[in-house]
């Protein structure tokens, strides 16, 4: 914000704070932190103009480890606090760090509204399908049957699909990745480029209370069979050799996993990804036997903080320069002599 910002090449180190990182050994959060610290210099970010805002939970300790401005707030409210910050200073580059409990349980309402308003933020939701900081209770994304201290006979709650929630809230950018993915920086970059609220669900392993819940997807050996990396304008193919793909069943209007070369399926039968197609994005949120990764949906819309700024400028044009004395004299006044 200074008039002549010093030209400086930032590195990962410039974005790392001097605080000792206190997540459990093996926690997926370490990998996400490293990816964020690594990508920020490439995004042209500066420590002074970058702010990380979090709520409560393991993930929400994140800001303490960033050498930027940071605010570790209260449970679930980070989106609202970030909205206020963007209203006060729209120039700041603001990231919200939240988890499945913080963002979808106690803070579900705020996440809903920050997405529909399309406030210009990057929102990273670390989804480990468990409550970590309170020691292992089931979360709103835990699978039915999950045995935890608060569900000794298995959870009977239906889980929420975060990306589906985001689309339902009219998010203009919805992406998914996982903690140790090499492509996480790429997804973060896409999110950062987007004007408006960019929602990224990051599948994250909790080695203490929910270890291995995403192993099939994230394991180097099994992963390729379960990871569908989306490329806009490209056929949606996956598998170790890209032999599998998504085919639209015209009768049921659902996406099916097919193998190219089998049962007469050719490349032409594979659906091409279109980031702006809301119906497609909706189907991609929850596929049978495969997880869509990358950008599920991207459709720019009016940005809340920009609209607010415009209205303020309009008010100045329409009502002229502010004059407190005149304000106090609006309506009827009279003089006593």
């Amino acid at each position: 914000m200074s008039p002549n910002p010093p030209k400086k090449e930032y590195t990962r180190k410039d974005f790392s704070s001097d605080q000792e990182v206190r997540w459990c050994p093996g926690c997926g959060d370490y990998a996400i932190l490293a990816a964020v610290q690594r990508v920020l210099p490439d995004l042209g970010s500066t420590p002074e103009n970058t702010v990380f805002i979090s709520g409560i939970g393991c993930s929400s300790r994140f800001p303490y480890y960033m050498n930027t401005y940071g605010f570790h707030t209260i449970h679930g409210r980070a989106p609202a606090i970030a909205t206020g910050l963007k209203l006060a200073n729209p120039e700041l580059d603001v990231w919200v760090i939240t988890g499945d409990g913080d963002g979808l349980s106690i803070g579900g309402n705020h996440l809903l509204h920050v997405l529909r308003r399309n406030v210009d933020l990057q929102i990273l939701l670390f989804n480990n399908q468990i409550y970590g900081l309170t020691k292992g209770q089931y979360s709103p994304t835990s699978q039915v049957g999950k045995v935890t201290p608060s569900s000794p006979l298995g959870s009977v709650d239906q889980p929420i699909v975060p990306a589906r929630f985001a689309l339902g809230a009219r998010a203009t950018f919805v992406a998914r990745s996982y903690d140790t993915s090499k492509r996480l920086p790429e997804t973060l970059t896409d999110a950062h480029k987007h004007d408006g609220a960019a929602f990224i669900e990051v599948l994250q392993n909790c080695p203490v209370f929910n270890d291995g819940v995403f192993d099939l997807i994230t394991d180097r050996k099994t992963g390729p069979a379960y990871q569908l990396w989306l490329e806009n304008g490209q056929p949606m193919r996956f598998g170790a050799n890209g032999e599998k793909g998504l085919h639209m069943n015209p009768k049921t209007l659902t996406l099916e996993v097919v193998t190219v070369g089998e049962e007469g399926i050719t490349e032409a039968d594979i659906v091409v990804h279109d980031e702006t197609n809301l119906s497609l994005a909706w189907m991609l949120t929850d596929l049978p036997g495969v997880v869509a990764l990358g950008v599920l949906y991207r459709q720019p819309g009016p940005v809340y903080n920009e609209s607010v700024t415009k209205q303020r400028e309009l008010a100045k044009e329409r009502f002229g320069e502010p004059d407190l004395k005149a304000l106090l004299r609006t309506g009827h006044t009279w003089t006593v002599v």
């Binding site: 914000m1 910002p5 609202a80 606090i81 209203l87 100045k316 006044t333 006593v336």
Partner: protein
């Protein structure tokens, strides 16, 4: 009122009266609030001092004709200085049987009763619970009655304009207003001008309303009024010279916030969720975007305050406005602002509680919530406005304290102040002392929780400043560095430090001073908030009777200003009247170990002067026995 107009009224043209209290009452759809506010403007033009009290139901349009749908507007105006809307009306305007039923008990015998006989049909009488028509059964004999079929008169006056019957009937409040203008010698001009603005797009409705207003006035001029009813005049009051306007508490608060932000050199981010009776604070501020005001209608009370906290982190002054139930929801976020030592202004326009309580009625029952209502030892500053106009100054003061001490400040208003209006001597904006905020920008030796040694306020370093990157949060932090700290001694010290910082404010606000009376005597009446007018008038009356009674009115609730203890101990007894179940009284007893006596009223209505006088007299008598 002892100076009842009714007691001295006898038939003669334009009899001079010293003061009059009129209550307009009708169905909530009858436009009584509007009628009352128009009469208020015309009365201000006539140069009287005045005070008003709107009293309306929570239902927007309660079923027509029912007692719970009755909406009232009381105005007290006088040829001298007054401070309350009056204890009991001298004049009651009842637009239907329900309005009569609800209000007749407070009309003094001999009082003037204006009724719209056109609404006294079988159906309306039954809805109001009358078995017999009170206009015929002699029950209204103690009053002077002006019984007019206002409905019929109105319809006749707008005939030929071409309005439907429903729209035509709607003009009956203007007909009534015209008659009242004639009775009390008010000019119609301000209302005509107002109508012209309001109905600029519906010329027929405009024509009809003006016709009805004029017809009511002409009726007064020509009618052979019943014996005992004449035309009256209340001469102009001697007010301090200067420019005046009418102002309601919520208007004054909004303008005070804008003024405070300007004096601080900051922009405002006002986060709010609509709630009675604070909503029009949001409406007022939403119209002031050109003053650097951003209003954010949040998804809930928590988001509203959270956005304000985020804005303060970013270098604006975050403000949130609400009522008691909203403050309850905001408590955790207010605690965050206390822990992170960010400025924040919370306006609590109090209403009857607990829970949803009495949304449209006034009460002072959030004092404990304001002072103590958070988890942990979580001190903040609490201010209370005494009059609608005082809301302006207290809002400025709230911003000043918030930015100077890096603390949340709770400003207590209430439904009575928010909606009540009074003539307001316009302040000289240029004479207000600016308090420009200095953000930290020097990285040399910077630590986020380093403090000013006088105020104990921490530095305010905002995102965007190179070299000052830092993290704050709700976890306990180490002194100076702000690093997370679980150290037992540090937590003890930080808790004491946060308390000490808020207590320093007491040295920065006016010392407690007697508002009226001597610095010692038999009884000190201690009030706070909107009871100012009633207590002030009551103490004046008591003193006129020779009682050694004084009035102390607290605007700084927390920290309490210096000198309160000495004053409390300088009187034989202390009486604390409050519109709650006894809150300030407990605070005073706890802080000063004085035997303060409580006078409570929890009726959703303000104190009457007579109630206060009687209570004080009774206690004075008891103490002499």
């Amino acid at each position: 009122m002892e100076t009842s107009a009714a007691a001295r009224v006898h038939p003669s043209p334009r009899e001079i009266l010293d003061s009059v209290v009129i209550r307009f009452a009708g169905d909530s759809g009858d436009g009584m609030q509007l009628t009352g506010s128009q009469f208020t403007t015309a009365t201000a033009v006539a140069g009287n001092d005045l005070a008003t009290f709107p009293d309306f139901p929570a239902e927007i349009r309660a079923p027509a004709g029912t007692t719970y749908g009755v909406s009232g507007f009381q105005i007290h105006f006088a040829a001298h200085d007054i401070r309350t809307p009056g204890d009991a009306p001298d004049v009651l305007v009842a637009m239907n049987p329900a309005a009569l039923k609800v209000n007749i008990d407070v009309l003094e015998p001999g009082g003037l009763l204006v009724v719209n006989t056109g609404a006294f049909n079988k159906n309306n009488l039954a809805k109001a619970g009358y078995e017999e028509n009170p206009l015929d059964d002699g029950s209204l004999d103690p009053f002077r009655i002006l019984a007019i079929d206002i409905t019929k008169m109105t319809l006749e006056s707008v005939k030929g304009i071409g309005l439907g019957s429903k729209d035509a009937q709607r003009c009956k409040n203007m007909w009534t207003l015209g008659l009242m203008y004639w009775l009390f010698g008010r000019e119609r001009e301000s209302t005509v001008r107002w109508l012209e603005k309001k109905f600029v797009k519906t010329p027929k409705v405009l024509e009809a309303n003006i016709a009805a207003l004029n017809a009511g006035h002409i009726y007064g001029e020509n009618a052979d009024l019943p014996h005992g009813i004449g035309a009256y005049q209340v001469p102009a009051a001697k007010l301090e010279p200067g420019q005046y306007r009418n102002i309601s508490g919520n208007e004054a608060t909004a303008w005070g916030l804008v003024t405070g932000a300007k004096l601080a050199g900051l922009e405002i981010v006002y986060g709010s969720y609509p709630i009675t009776p604070a909503s029009n604070l949001l409406h007022n501020l939403a119209r002031l975007k050109q003053f650097g005001v951003t209003t954010f209608q949040a998804e809930d009370e928590i988001a509203a305050v959270s956005a304000a906290v985020g804005a303060s982190f970013g270098g604006a002054i975050g403000v949130t406005g609400t009522s008691g139930p909203g403050v309850a929801l905001k408590s955790e976020a207010i605690g965050l602002a206390i822990a992170t030592e960010l400025p924040l202004v919370i306006v609590d326009v109090q209403r009857g509680g607990p829970s949803t309580g009495l949304p449209t009625k006034t009460e002072q029952s959030d004092l404990f919530q304001a002072v103590w209502g958070r988890n942990g030892d979580a001190p903040l500053a609490v201010l209370a406005a005494a009059t609608p106009g005082d809301c302006f100054y207290m809002a400025v003061e709230a911003v000043r304290i918030a930015v100077k001490y890096m603390t949340p400040v709770m400003l207590l208003s209430d439904g009575y102040l928010a909606n009540g209006a009074e003539p307001w001597h316009l302040p000289d904006i240029d004479a207000l002392e600016p308090f420009p905020v200095q953000f930290r920008d020097d990285p040399e030796g910077f630590m986020p929780f380093m403090r000013d040694k006088d105020t104990l306020a921490r530095v305010w370093a905002i995102p965007g400043t190179p070299g000052l990157e830092h993290r704050i949060g709700g976890l306990e932090k180490q002194q100076d560095t702000g690093h997370i700290s679980y150290d037992p001694e540090n937590h003890h010290m930080m808790t004491k430090l946060r308390e000490a910082k808020v207590q320093r404010i007491a040295k920065d606000v006016p010392k407690a001073a007697i508002d009226q009376g001597d610095p010692r005597g038999d009884m000190l009446v201690v009030g706070w908030g909107s009871t100012y007018g009633a207590i002030s008038q009551a103490v004046r009356m008591l003193r006129e009777r020779g009682r050694k009674v004084s009035h102390l009115h607290l605007r700084n609730i927390w920290p309490l200003p210096e000198g309160v203890g000495d004053l409390l101990r300088s009187f034989g007894s202390v009486l604390v009247p409050e519109l709650n179940n006894g809150q300030l009284v407990k605070l005073l007893r706890a802080e000063y170990l004085v035997d303060a006596d409580s006078l409570t009223k929890i009726a959703g209505q303000p104190f009457r002067i007579s109630e206060l006088v009687e209570a004080a007299e009774e206690r004075l008598k008891r103490s002499l026995q």
